[in-house]
Symmetry: C2
Subunit: 455 residues, 2 copies
């Protein structure tokens, strides 16, 4: 069967079969290697994707879809013998609509490239995450990427106006809407956003743009207690309509991230909690006066204990370096588990307290580092210095607690292969059954990204 399949592969598919490529496309940033693929095909047109998928479906040949390879849930790791379809050559920005503020791009465009191209035209695509230099917009959509500015602009789901997808039988479904509103029945694009390639291959995307902000203001503030977080967030959302980030860091995290990135510890570590606020907007006296007035009133009312206000963009970058320091911290924490939990803000304090109590009791040698996009109810807890055998029990404990708080075991990273065993803590039997019914209605053979999210 494999021979007949191979003989029918069109020549123009830019196929790779050398061992180095097979290994390179054989995992993602999670490091999981589930098997070695048969080959990597790199179609250069949507029609080539459609024809290849149809061929695979006829031969019952399983497909793994490859984007930028920055996923953390093992979703891009192929099974042994899979055909990997990489979208990397579908990398054209087809059109930037400067009147309406939309862009039509192919799935393989790298996020950073898209952002730079629209900024050149006076527009702004606000999606921003650590992998910006390698992740592709198709993968961002397939995983509903979140990142640093969800509070203001939403997740990728809210930034997508239209999609084109190749269905598991090779049919091309084109729905490249360019308006905010289309109430003509089921919003089909929602089926493909966040479903990690299990229902279709995203080939083109229409994204919503925003006028390019002229400037940014940020501040790091110190808080004496977690109970100050919710009122501060509400006050900031109210006074600063441009508030785009509200990143909360706990003292241990700040100290270690400062150390590893070679920065001084802000406030000399005086406060148990530090919040990095950022707004972006027009470079007007009103914008700056509004930001300064907000900080002053927070300090006056003891809503915050102290504030560091960077005077220039480099100084602001220093603050973000601490927030982004988690990447460099990982090495020193091995073996670790990096959680990406969604918990309602009102329950966040109790959740953290119970999680810390259970971990410190059962795994007294563990180090816990806490930070998160708390404006979105998204906590990144990293539990490190574990024994390899502790990993699964720690995951089990934290995800079970998440379930008891009606939280999400994956706020932004997705389920892929690695979180599948814990899905039941966020999705009950009824929900899983409906998810399965939809998958089986669209991808009955399991041709696309089989064994991700659900068995």
């Amino acid at each position: 069967m494999s021979d007949s399949f191979l003989s029918q592969l069109p020549a123009e598919l830019n196929v790779l079969t050398d061992p180095a490529s097979l290994v390179r496309y054989g995992s993602d940033a999670s490091g999981l290697c589930a098997g070695v693929p048969l080959l990597v095909a790199r179609p250069a047109t949507v029609e080539q994707v459609g024809a290849l998928v149809a061929l695979c479906a006829r031969h019952n040949r399983k497909i793994t879809i490859a984007g930028g390879g920055s996923g953390l849930a093992g979703g891009a790791a192929p099974d042994e013998g899979d055909v990997v379809i990489s979208l990397e050559l579908l990398n054209r920005i087809e059109d930037i609509d400067e009147a309406g503020g939309t862009a039509l791009v192919q799935a393989g465009v790298v996020l950073e490239t898209l952002c730079a191209a629209v900024e050149e035209k006076g527009w702004y695509f606000p999606l921003d995450l650590g992998a910006r230099g390698s992740c592709q917009i198709g993968g961002n959509v397939a995983t509903n990427a979140g990142g640093n500015r969800v509070l203001r602009y939403g997740t990728t789901r809210q930034l997508v106006l239209g999609l084109e997808v190749v269905l598991p039988d090779g049919t091309i479904m084109t729905m490249l809407d360019r308006t905010l509103k289309n109430n003509t029945g089921l919003d089909l694009k929602q089926l493909f956003i966040g479903t990690e390639g299990t229902l279709g291959i995203i080939t083109r995307v229409v994204v919503r743009l925003f006028p390019r902000p002229q400037t940014r203001r940020s501040a790091l503030v110190g808080l004496g207690s977690f109970t100050q977080i919710a009122p501060l967030l509400k006050a900031a959302r109210s006074a600063l309509p441009e508030l785009s980030s509200f990143e909360v860091m706990w003292a241990d995290y700040v100290a270690q991230a400062a150390r590893v990135t070679g920065r001084a510890i802000p406030f000399d570590g005086a406060w148990p909690l530090t919040v990095l606020l950022e707004t972006e907007g027009a470079d007007t006296p009103m914008f700056h006066a509004g930001f300064d007035a907000f900080l002053e009133s927070m300090l006056e009312n003891d809503a915050v204990q102290d504030a560091i206000v960077p005077q220039n963009l480099e100084h602001a970058a220093d603050l973000w370096a601490i927030r982004d320091g988690i990447g460099e911290l990982f090495t020193s924490l091995r073996p670790f588990v990096a959680f990406d939990i969604g918990i309602p803000l009102k329950d966040m304090g109790a959740f953290i307290e119970q999680a810390m109590a259970e971990i410190s009791q059962r795994w007294p040698q563990a180090s816990n580092l806490l930070f998160g996009h708390l404006g979105d109810g998204n906590l990144h807890l990293t539990t490190g210095h574990l024994q390899p055998d502790d990993i699964v029990p720690v995951e089990e404990a934290v995800y079970a607690l998440t379930g008891r708080f009606n939280g999400s075991i994956s706020a932004e990273h997705g389920i892929g292969r690695l979180k599948k065993p814990f899905l039941h803590y966020s999705r009950d039997d009824t929900q899983q059954q409906v998810m399965r019914r939809i998958r089986d209605a669209l991808n009955p053979q399991g041709v696309l990204n089989a064994a991700r999210i659900l068995d």
Copy 2:
């Protein structure tokens, strides 16, 4: 069968069978009457809804779901002999989370009631439309209601964090998320938002709240040409992050709406286009200075020709009265067709030109009134003074043109029964097939809201 069905109906369902009620629940604001229902059941708990749906499914008894009855697409009009399930007694606001800014409400809560309740707690639910005093939040979600503030806050889809639904077999599916982020596979709530009750009955909703704005500023500006619209919108979005409305009205519309609402015609009708801008935010000097500076710079640069800036809320209400005057205008336009078209802003000028040319050539006696939420690419064209026999050909002509512009035949009102014949102009065969596959996977017997959207 009917007798056995009736004998099994639980007593607590608050059933209505009197002729007046059957007529009252037998249509919606579109006026369409498709048939007289068997009875109207008004369950008071989610469990009662589940049990009733299961009973109907066993007896193959079709259900029409009733919300506030303000729909314009005939979606709430039952077929002869249907069981109408009204959600009106599921009308409790169960919880307002003042820390995180979310509310958990039952589906039958009237929109205006919800807005007032959260405002009392210092929060804000921004959904706003003409039917606010009668429409119910469950219906708003089922039809993905748009309205006046989509530009800033999105449609209802963007305001829903969690849902509970009763599936067509009576199963209750509860997914009452309270966070912005949950990437644990298919976002199931998207299946029920905007699908007009064809996949499930919405019983409870978690909505996202915003800090209550302290004040509003609005202005009416006059423009000499349509080409000024896109740059003005971009400038306004850029300078006014709180911009919540950008409502464009053409001269004929303004003149007639002013007449019918007893107001003076703004600018004495000097400008072919008038835009009503509104922002909402904190009542700070910066907020007001920012708004005034924006208007001044627009006037200085000839981006707008003239501006009326209301000095108080009553004066602002006068401007909104003109914008909302369409309701009163309808009577004088009969027979008319009220279109709700989505067209990319870049193509809007060409679309209007071609539509006006075709209508005036084929139906010279017709009056065309134009206004729209152009910030969302949403045009409301009302074509009146038609002959009754002209209605369908006028619809056919405008929807066919919409299709040629890749637009949406329903930007915010939905498809229901009345727009079903034209769905193919916005959804091709492949899309309709996928929509049908999903419907058949969830509602195979057609128990819920049969014959809406798709046959």
